[in-house]
């Protein structure tokens, strides 16, 4: 990703702290969960005492009444346990979902407002992962691991206290299981963390081969590679089986011993406690209670043990999420920015040089020009000449590295971004269609536009006839499940989309390249009219001379420099480069 990570700060843990702070917005839910957790522990702790009472004062004393009362209290404790357990889970989940909701909103807003330079280097899939699975990791941490660790610690501490009060010697014996099991668990996790990661990696690699074969089945068959690919897969598959076996061995060496430990400690408790009962120091009820507590101790230990890797994962995810949330927005409004309102038509580039962030090469070198009101400027050049780059600076998708871009004398950086961009209509090279109806796509910038306005725009873009011929007309769905449109049709939708905005300046970037010549001519006509009516200046960016012939002036770009400007005739006479381009484009025809 774009932002470098500062390796000196323990950032994952810090990010996790920030997550915990964001819990503050839901503190009542969190407190509810915490309180439920504490009460739950109390309810758990009470039950063995009820056993003890029931056995000692009830059964041993042949007092049926006590037995029945203790049974009744047990049920009451169970109801309480049930309620608190529910409360803990539910409120913890609600709080975590709230935090996830906030975090998702924050990161989404950030992504939508980050500048083009960020998005040039960012990958959509990476961003998606952060919003979906990374935040889900954080959320699971809050609702599960965090809750479990807290309640585990509370449980352990309170049971330890109870045991110590009942009989401190027996308690100490019982509590030895805690550090021993803990040590076994820690040893397991530290030795085998890598092993489990290896399993994941190998599985990922195996699936990658599967995917390649699925997508590239034609290539595999055409090159007669079925056998070779199968052998490759088999090897990797066998390796995975072997690695999985290693994890089984690791589990085999740890968990049976943890359970043996708890069983042996039970025996010691029965032995030592039994002796104490025989001596009269201890009651049977107490012995049974002790055993019950022992059963309660083991689970918290396991929970804490397994929470550790979960916490590490959540911390890593938190770091990735905040990386985006904290990213700097490069292009923003200046403090005193004013709205851009009327356009006189004088657009000036003053010695503008521009370098894409992260690049050493200048995409624009010392470009200067000035437009006259109502001019149609064509910018011509081959791929990489900088012709599209120039037009990125006008709406402030990027800011010039050196020099200034002005509209009617005012630097574009003095205007608010919203007002600037709403008055500059752009048709991009690549058309993005959105899921929704054709009408919604055309009305993208102005969802509240009337159908008449939408139709007008579609007519100008020469799409109205095609659309009305569809069964659902303007309500036809576009996108994966909807109608498929050709490249030319998509471009015309994009043009209609732009025509529906309040543009004063129009920028068309190679926008009829996929349209056949006849329709392109029609579109050009309609656009010509609109450009002369509504705009103060227009720009057409193109590669083909045929597209730019009607322009008032042609700017010829080559390797980032503005090498010539003038009318078609003037350029034919004065610019060698123009002549070369013209010739090469004519050359691509057969001798008649």
């Amino acid at each position: 990703m774009v932002q470098p990570i500062d390796l000196q700060e323990p950032s994952p843990m810090r990010s996790l702290q920030r997550v915990l702070k964001s819990l503050n917005a839901y503190r009542w839910l969190a407190l509810g969960a915490l309180l439920s957790s504490l009460l739950l522990t109390a309810a758990y702790a009470v039950t063995p005492q009820l056993f003890r009472w029931g056995i000692d004062q009830g059964i041993a004393d042949k007092n049926l009444r006590v037995v029945l009362i203790s049974a009744a209290w047990m049920v009451a404790a169970a109801i309480a346990r049930g309620l608190f357990n529910f409360g803990q889970s539910f409120w913890a989940e609600a709080a975590s979902q709230g935090v996830a909701y906030d975090l998702r909103n924050r990161i989404f807003s950030k992504i939508q407002t980050l500048s083009f330079s960020y998005h040039d280097q960012a990958q959509t899939s990476q961003l998606l992962t952060r919003v979906t699975s990374d935040i889900e990791q954080i959320r699971t941490f809050l609702s599960t691991s965090l809750m479990q660790v807290i309640s585990a610690i509370v449980t352990l501490v309170s049971i330890a206290v109870i045991l110590l009060i009942m009989d401190w010697q027996l308690a100490l014996i019982t509590l030895t299981v805690v550090p021993m099991a803990g040590w076994l668990l820690a040893r397991f996790l530290s030795r085998n963390g890598d092993l489990f990661r290896q399993v994941q990696e190998q599985l990922g690699d195996l699936n990658a081969v599967l995917q390649e074969n699925l997508l590239g089945i034609r290539v595999v068959k055409a090159f007669v590679r079925e056998q070779a690919e199968t052998e490759r897969y088999t090897q990797m598959n066998q390796a995975l089986v072997r690695t999985n076996m290693k994890t089984i061995l690791a589990i085999r060496n740890t968990f049976p011993f943890i359970f043996l430990l708890s069983n042996l400690v039970t025996l010691v408790v029965v032995g030592y406690g039994g002796a104490a009962v025989i001596d009269g120091r201890f009651s049977i009820g107490e012995l049974v209670a002790f055993n019950s507590y022992l059963l309660l101790i083991l689970q918290p230990i396991l929970l804490i043990g397994f929470a550790a890797p979960a916490i590490a994962q959540a911390a890593a995810s938190a770091e990735r999420v905040y990386e985006v949330v904290d990213a700097a927005i490069e292009i923003r409004d200046r403090p005193q920015a004013v709205p851009f309102q009327t356009c006189g038509g004088r657009i000036t580039f003053e010695n503008v040089s521009f370098r894409y962030p992260g690049s050493t090469i200048y995409a624009l070198k010392d470009v200067s020009f000035e437009t006259q009101p109502n001019e149609l400027i064509a910018i011509l050049g081959m791929t990489g000449s900088g012709k599209s780059t120039i037009m990125n600076l006008l709406p402030r998708f990027y800011d010039a590295t050196q020099g200034a871009v002005r509209i009617d004398g005012r630097d574009v950086r003095d205007f608010t971004l919203a007002s600037l961009r709403s008055r500059i209509g752009i048709v991009f090279q690549e058309t993005t269609l959105f899921s929704g109806t054709l009408r919604e796509n055309i009305a993208y910038a102005k969802p509240e536009a009337s159908l008449d306005d939408v139709i007008d725009a579609a007519k100008a873009a020469q799409m109205h006839e095609f659309i009305t011929a569809l069964p659902n007309g303007y309500e036809t769905l576009v996108g994966e499940r909807g109608v498929g449109l050709s490249g030319g049709q998509k471009q015309r939708i994009a043009i209609a989309r732009t025509l529906l905005t309040d543009y004063s300046i129009l920028i068309l970037d190679d926008s009829t390249s996929a349209v056949d010549a006849k329709t392109a001519a029609q579109i050009q006509d309609a656009l010509d009219r609109l450009m002369h009516q509504k705009t103060c200046t227009s720009f057409v960016i193109a590669q083909r001379i045929s597209t730019v012939q009607n322009a008032d002036r042609i700017f010829l770009m080559d390797k980032g420099r503005l090498v010539a400007q003038g009318t078609h005739d003037e350029l034919m006479r004065h610019s060698p480069l123009y002549g070369v381009i013209l010739e090469s484009q004519v050359k691509q025809k057969a001798p008649v």
Binding site: V67, A72, A94, R218, A222, F223, V270, I278, Q588, A590
Partner: protein, 597 residues
């Protein structure tokens, strides 16, 4: 993975689940000698776990109650030995069951992959590869989860549960029956919650689906959003979907959060029942304190096995649904095999003939009707026409990915159906639109069709394809890893490597799809030059996108609506003033005569 209760189960009907399970159990066949050993170890392990409370209860009555300390210590020592034996059994169980399961899973994965290699191309054209892929990955992983580690645990717990029930019934029948009443109740409750949870989780799946779709669209279209000032609206729309997802999840959790407490409550109910009734029996002398104690300890041991079993149950359901889909795939008919008397294709000259070829992907809809064409060795045939429209079909037929329904495709006079597919395809090279490369080194990718190629041959091919310089500029040169975690190549570089791959096998017939997008100018020039070299001296079929290609072609085929609408050289077709002329001449006209203003 959350363990708070039943999550959504699949939608397989019970009898289908059974048959799928039966088929899965077939995979146990190679291990049938090991199974009884594993089962006995499981039984032994469970028995040692179940026996503890029995003896503790007994010791309370007969040893502690009698003040027999020595006897107590002796008993405990025996129990300790028993537990150690139990550990040995459990270790053995984990190893054996785990080893069997891992090998079965490995076999399942292998079967799926082998199947993929033997399926006809038509299968892949039908199913969306992405959909298939995600299903396979998900399904194999759910099977892995359900049957990987947890089987040993589940079986152990199942046997423990059975052992506990038996032990209880043996000690005291009445008390045993009372305690065990709760088990069917627990099972019923599990099923109930599963049903409720399913409905709620279906809603969460929908909301997360909508959220993801919106996310993907908006994250990919940030530039448009900023250019058209739609940022705030996008953010507001997102918030709404986000909130819906949050609420759906909270509602779903209300169900799962109630599940375990309900089971726990039933458990405690049983415990209280034991205490009450057992206490009554003890007070009236019908049972001893030891017995009651043993029962109390046993009842507490119900909870964990039921919890684990219910978890396993829901996992198993998803796994069975996944298995069902996997088996459906495995049952697909394999591809057209070579004819029994198929011969090897002799070294080709490259004469390709289509004679009255008819073909349709579905019998009712013919894509090619009465197509005739003849390409002489070394000729370049350009295929043009509106998208799809049979161009790629012609290529499918030459490579024999499909068989014609009428007429025949002949190479050097030999019908392609009479030779082995392998010998046919080895002599045909392809460079397709997507330029797919595979995990492995650059060298391995170039030698894809000829794994035994020497390094010199690989380099030579790379030179011809104009990619040698680029490869040597990489840090590890030809040994650079490509693929998911390898070096990312640009589209243009990928195409150059694809061209090298085709060059290496030195095919007599070449198939080339020119469609490429967004290649930078420099690489474009390299690609053009490489392709020009590639096309020399070979019969080539090119799906043309460049004007220069069509003008140089020996024959141009205009494919429209499944028929060859026009055939001829570029000049002839322009003169005809037909379909081709319409498509291309206007473009030419516009370029040729600069109109004065």
């Amino acid at each position: 993975m959350r363990s708070t209760g039943p999550v959504v189960a699949s939608e397989l009907k019970p009898h289908k689940q059974l048959s799928t399970l039966q088929r899965f159990l077939q995979y146990l066949r190679p291990y049938r000698k090991e199974v009884p050993v594993a089962l006995s170890l499981i039984t032994l392990g469970a028995a040692t776990q179940a026996i503890g409370p029995f003896f503790i209860g007994w010791s309370i009555d007969h040893l502690i109650g009698q003040g027999n300390l020595r006897g107590l210590l002796l008993l405990l020592a025996m129990l300790a030995l028993l537990y150690i034996v139990g550990v040995w059994a459990i270790r053995g169980q984990i190893l054996r069951v785990g080893s069997i399961m891992q090998r079965i899973l490995g076999q399942l994965r292998q079967d799926v992959f082998d199947k993929i290699q033997s399926l006809p191309v038509s299968f892949f054209d039908r199913s969306e590869a992405g959909d298939l892929m995600s299903r396979l990955l998900n399904d194999v992983s759910t099977v892995n989860q359900a049957f990987g580690q947890t089987v040993a645990q589940m079986l152990g717990n199942l046997f423990s549960l059975v052992g506990i029930v038996i032990a209880m019934l043996c000690i005291n029948l009445q008390l045993g029956l009372l305690s065990n009443l709760v088990v069917p109740l627990m099972i019923f409750t599990t099923g109930l919650f599963a049903r409720w949870a399913r409905a709620r989780f279906r809603v969460t799946r929908e909301t997360i689906g909508e959220l993801s779709a919106k996310l993907e669209e908006d994250i990919g279209s940030v530039k448009e959003a900023q250019a058209f000032n739609r940022v705030q609206l996008n953010i507001d729309e997102f918030k709404a979907l986000n909130a819906a997802n949050r609420d759906a999840n909270v509602q779903a959790v209300a169900i799962t959060a109630a599940f375990l407490p309900s089971i726990d409550f039933l458990n405690t109910l049983a415990t209280a029942g034991v205490l009450a009734y057992g206490g009554y029996l003890a007070v009236t002398g019908a049972a001893t304190v030891g017995v009651v104690t043993a029962f109390l300890l046993y009842v507490q041991q119900f909870f964990r096995p039921i919890q684990i079993l219910s978890q396993f149950y829901t996992q198993a359901q998803s796994a069975l649904a996944g298995l069902d889909r996997i088996f459906l795939l495995l049952d697909e008919p394999a591809e057209l095999k070579d004819a029994p008397d198929a011969t090897t294709m002799p070294p080709m000259q490259g004469d390709v003939r289509f004679e009255a070829v008819e073909f349709g992907y579905t019998p009712s809809q013919l894509v090619l009707k009465q197509v005739n064409l003849h390409a002489q060795p070394g000729q370049m045939i350009a295929l043009v026409g509106p998208t799809g429209a049979g161009k790629s079909t012609i290529i499918n037929l030459i490579l024999r990915f499909y068989d014609v329904s009428g007429g025949g495709v002949k190479i050097d006079g030999v019908d392609v159906r009479r030779v082995t597919q392998a010998s046919l395809r080895r002599q045909i090279g392809i460079v397709l639109q997507d330029n797919l490369l595979f995990t492995g080194t650059v060298a391995e990718n170039i030698a894809f069709g000829c794994p035994n190629a020497t390094h010199a041959e690989i380099e030579a091919a790379a030179q011809l394809a104009n990619v040698h310089e680029f490869v040597t500029s990489l840090p590890q040169g030809y040994a650079t890893q490509l693929g998911e975690r390898g070096a990312p190549l640009s589209q243009g570089q990928r195409q150059l490597v694809s061209i090298a791959r085709a060059v290496l096998i030195n095919p007599r017939i070449l198939i080339l799809d020119e469609a490429t997008s967004s290649i930078d100018t420099r690489t474009e020039a390299l690609v053009q030059a490489a392709i020009a070299r590639l096309l020399k001296h070979r019969t080539s079929f090119v799906i043309a996108h460049r004007l220069s290609t069509v003008t140089q072609a020996d024959q141009v085929l205009v494919v429209q609506q499944g028929q060859i609408a026009e055939q001829g050289t570029h000049a002839e077709l322009v003169a005809k003033q037909g379909v081709y002329a319409n498509l291309y001449a206007l473009q030419l006209g516009a370029d040729a005569t600069p109109v004065a203003r």
